[in-house]
């Protein structure tokens, strides 16, 4: 035992204790911000963390959790938070908090700085990540409506950029017609020639029933006629079969105009997409107005669910598969269950208060844990509040990861919320600020395993707009849309979204969208139609040469068919003639027999 070593250790411990006393709060704050940021995938910031070692309590004045989908906004922001940690679990490296007090929890607040971080977000996980991707795609594909853009549209440039499909469709049709012509020309050539038909006819005409004197002559004439008839029957059978085949081929190739028309329409549609020519429909307009805010809110909620699912999943394996290549010196941590078993993190009860849509509510968030199966309890969220004007909020959520299939559900009901200052929608359409009015939101979200369902209804009543907000910016369309919106004292929006068996839909319905669509159609419809027509004419002009060639080939095919028909008709006539001769011969035979009997 070194005495000087003991002194050295005591001095060192003293220095460390002093250092911790001075800097522990900063160190803990730094550690929690780092861990939190890596979990969320965007900045997590604590203000004034205060850790008291002897009482094992911790508090902070403010916590901001950036929304990774919109990094200038916070997903959640808290005011003052205080909690005590349980000693026994802490000695076993587990953080169990029985009661956590949270003041003024707020959602979707503005940030003073960008909270983006390089790197991936944990919530891009499984089906939740897939739904997030699909919603983001919806956001990217929102329609844009700009009159000025339509005026400046250069159809020539669009057609130059666009690789037209119609010429290749016409080429393919031409090839088809060519091969049909070739085939039928050779088949028609194999049919008896004009001379052969004439010779056959002459042969038939030489049979003269009136000039047969004896029954023997009649028999010979009948035999000759029958032979010709057999030949003709066989020929006609073949020709009739060919005729059916030919007609089918003609029918097929005859649809060339439909094919060309459909190819032209396809090219027009692609050109319209390339030129960003919008479809004016209620659904599209509603999507453009409300899509961004609905999608961003939904992305925020899904991010929370995705993060919760991700961490519940990676923490619940008590006997995991061996990781074949963990980072050097990091290994793999194995967790055990049994006895005094606490999950790594467990906040048993969090009392919270929040201002949602301007209404103050109080509630609890229970059993936030890193391992639900261990404690056998899902995360439960309850929040309720009313205000003196009859407004109310109610929020119920269950985040259940106890079993194999994760189950998340959220019910929101907000009524009588003041809409003053509410910016209608963050779209190009309605940059209107509401001066007064009340609104309500009801919604149900369920995400069970891979099945996602959302239904939400938003209503606004007794609305008036801030008149000073009117901007005359020479945008006729915007002015019109604003006039339409201002004429309404109420609005409603319905949101339906689902993701079931890899099929996703996001439908938005709104009365305001319908009215704006009608107004937009009135103003923009003719312009959109005229630009679309211009594109169509230009495409039709570009393919007119190919179309002419195709039409001339079709005429050639029709001529081949006419030749075939002519031969068929001539042979048919000959067959008819020989049949009449045979009938006449038969009559003649009967007559002769009768004469002999007499």
């Amino acid at each position: 035992m070194r005495k000087r070593g003991l002194v050295f250790l005591l001095v060192l411990s003293g220095i460390i204790a002093l250092f911790l006393l001075l800097f522990s709060d900063r160190l803990i704050e730094w550690g929690m911000e780092k861990a939190g940021s890596s979990i969320v995938g965007a900045k997590v910031e604590f203000d004034n963390v205060d850790f008291r070692l002897f009482s094992l309590s911790m508090s902070w004045n403010r916590l901001q959790v950036t929304n990774p989908s919109s990094t200038w906004r916070n997903l959640i922001e808290t005011g003052f938070v205080q909690f005590d940690m349980a000693l026994e679990p802490l000695l076993m490296n587990r953080f169990v908090v029985q009661n956590m007090q949270t003041d003024s929890l707020r959602f979707n607040t503005k940030r003073e700085s960008n909270g983006a971080l390089a790197g991936n977000a944990a919530s891009d996980y499984g089906p939740v990540g897939r739904v997030q991707e699909l919603i983001t795609e919806e956001l990217v594909n929102l329609p844009a409506y700009q009159i000025a853009d339509l005026d400046e549209l250069k159809v020539d440039s669009i057609i130059r950029i666009l690789s037209l499909h119609t010429p290749s469709v016409i080429d393919s049709l031409e090839e088809n017609v060519d091969s049909t012509i070739q085939y039928w020309s050779s088949r028609v050539k194999k049919l008896p020639s004009e001379q052969e038909i004439k010779a056959l006819r002459r042969k038939i005409e030489t049979i003269q029933p009136d000039e047969t004197d004896s029954p023997q002559e009649v028999r010979e004439a009948i035999a000759a006629a029958q032979e010709i008839r057999n030949t003709l029957d066989s020929l006609m059978n073949t020709i009739n079969q060919l005729d059916r085949q030919f007609k089918t081929d003609i029918r097929k190739t005859g649809k060339y105009d439909e094919n060309v028309s459909s190819a032209v329409s396809g090219d027009v549609q692609r050109a319209a997409e390339l030129a960003d020519i919008p479809k004016i429909s209620t659904a599209e307009i509603t999507r453009a107005i409300f899509g961004p805010s609905v999608a961003n809110t939904l992305l925020g909620v899904l991010h929370i669910i995705g993060t919760a699912r991700y961490y519940s999943d990676i923490m619940k394996d008590d006997q995991p598969e061996k990781r074949e290549d963990p980072p050097r010196l990091s290994g793999q941590t194995i967790r055990y269950r049994g006895m005094r078993d606490w999950p790594k993190i467990w906040v048993q009860n969090m009392s919270l208060s929040a201002v949602i849509a301007g209404i103050y509510g109080k509630g609890t968030l229970q059993h936030i844990s890193s391992y639900q199966a261990l404690i056998g309890k899902p995360i439960l969220l309850e929040l309720f509040g009313t205000d003196e004007n009859g407004g109310s909020i109610k929020l119920d959520g269950i985040f259940d990861y106890i079993g194999e299939i994760p189950k998340d559900s959220l019910l929101v009901s907000v009524a009588g919320i003041p809409l003053k200052g509410f910016n209608f929608a963050s779209s190009q359409f309605l940059p209107l600020e509401i001066e007064s009015g009340r609104g309500s939101i009801s919604g149900a979200l369920s995400f069970i395993g891979e099945r996602f369902l959302l239904e939400s209804r938003i209503k606004g009543e007794e609305i008036s707009y801030n008149e000073q907000d009117t901007e005359k910016d020479n945008d006729e369309l915007k002015d019109l849309q604003q006039r339409v919106a201002r004429s309404l004292s109420s609005f409603s929006v319905e949101v339906f979204s689902k993701y079931i068996e890899d099929s996703f839909s996001l439908d938005l319905r709104s009365d305001i969208g319908k009215l704006i669509a009608e107004a937009t159609q009135q103003m923009l419809g003719d312009q959109v139609d005229s630009v679309t027509q211009e594109i169509r004419s230009r495409i039709e002009k570009d393919v007119s040469g190919n179309l002419k060639t195709l039409q001339s080939k079709m005429s050639k095919l029709n001529r081949t068919q006419e030749t075939f028909e002519e031969k068929r008709r001539r042979l048919g006539d000959s067959e008819e003639l020989v049949r009449s001769k045979i009938d006449a011969l038969k009559k003649e035979t009967g007559k002769k027999i009768f004469e002999k009997i007499q």
Binding site: M1, G5, T333
Partner: protein, 176 residues
Amino acid sequence: MFIIQFIARLIAVVRSAATPAQVGGGFLIGMAIGLIPSFPIKALLFIALILINVNIAAALFAVFAFSLIAYIIDPLFHSIGYLLLVEIDFLKPFWLALYNTPFVPITGFNNTVVLGALVVSLLLLYPVYLGIKNGVVAYRVKIEPVASKWKIVQVIQKSSLYQWFVRLSRLGENLL
């Protein structure tokens, strides 16, 4: 340069005034510190190093050498740790009991690399101690009188690196 550094440190350790047992003891603690990637265990071993009268230079040398070795054979530690923690069923009650014992989980024993390194360190304790102790005795009796005349050893002993290491070791010994 790296080889010269290594040899200079080795010579400084075996030529120190410490007894072979102190060198062996210091080496063992240094080896464990170098091998086990757990901060609480490293801290405990560091306290032991300071309190127990072992050779600190040997410990520093071992920390340096075994940190490199640990990095190289880390996959072996991971496999041993996984085998013991997961695949051998009859050990599970033992790990569970440890897991529920105050302070023990803080050591990170339930991490495959920590446990693998800890077990390897424990297995190496006695053979390494014996090897180092006997090696130091053999060096001092048989090799040092001859080796001190070698030019390479004289060059190394005169090198600033060697002198720095000797001074650092003496400083450590004097402080404690």
